[in-house]
Symmetry: C2
Subunit: 179 residues, 2 copies
């Protein structure tokens, strides 16, 4: 008989521009006790000596160590945790593996939309925050990682065009569970 | 013979409105490898169930556990760390105690100015970010904690009216060392 998980960790992933932050923040508001971890913010706490995470495995490793530490602390204090970051399947599994002793359930969601929409949204950002070509490259990278399709939520889907529908889907559909 | 510290942790404290964030961010830019940890940001990662830290020892404990975990990770990856938060002497010593095995030097600085200046600066913030009376209460709380005067930097001091002078003082004057 499997134990009922005391707390949940939601990893909200997907390419840039797909709505990770908005979705994650709304999701965090639906639980009694919750924490919101922005991988982008964590990444930029590193000031001097920082490398682009996608070009440096050491930088990426630092970011994930920080996300894991914070997640563990928040769980210890009785919170559900929402992680908002471009997370590939291997990284989601690493988090899940490292939380095994803590009786938590890890939910891994990859938000998805077509490349044209991503580029349009990217162009609406401030120039300093634009990712340009990297938006589209990320889509291909997700496909190449052998991502199991069951983790994908296509936000371009007509039945999921409202953020609250997406939130309900994440919370109620058990197929996004990782462990 | 004392070992030469491999890395440094700067705790930049003081009442609200004294210039902690500006000073901390500038300080972080002066090192080859550095991280900037905002206690206020860390505190607000807790979304639902969050209590005011100064009214809840559990909330405060969660914040410091998070700051400590991040600090340890950043040190492990070769960074000097700047912590920007209202930090009382007992908390600075707790951090120092918990970093003992890591061969780091902890520098504890309490930025200071008169109450009138603090209230003026507070009024210049957006209404939602104003602390009001709490600015002044914090000054009294620092005095009551038995803070050793050597850790204080009075930014109203005429010889330290420029932020770069303050940064130089923090980096070069050994009297702010905690351990």
């Amino acid at each position: 008989m499997s134990k009922i998980a005391a707390h949940k960790v939601y990893i909200i992933s997907g390419p840039a521009g797909v709505g990770k932050s908005t979705t994650s923040k709304e999701l965090a508001k639906t639980f009694k006790n919750s924490a919101y971890i922005s991988g982008d913010y964590i990444s930029h706490m590193h000031i001097n000596g920082r490398k682009k995470p996608w070009e440096s495995s050491e930088e990426m490793s630092l970011i994930w160590d920080n996300i894991l530490s914070l997640t563990k602390n928040f769980i210890k204090y009785g919170n559900d945790v929402i992680v908002d970051y471009v997370t590939f399947p291997k990284e989601a599994e690493w988090i899940s593996e490292n939380l095994k002793s803590l009786n938590v359930e890890v939910i891994y969601v990859v938000l998805w939309t077509d490349k044209k929409t991503l580029l349009t949204r990217d162009n609406m950002r401030l120039p300093s925050a634009r990712m340009g070509e990297r938006c589209v490259i990320l889509v291909d990278e997700f496909i190449e990682t052998g991502l199991n399709e069951k983790h994908i939520i296509d936000t371009g889907n007509t039945s999921l065009d409202d953020i609250l529908d997406v939130i309900n889907e994440i919370i109620n559909n058990p197929k996004y569970k990782l462990n």
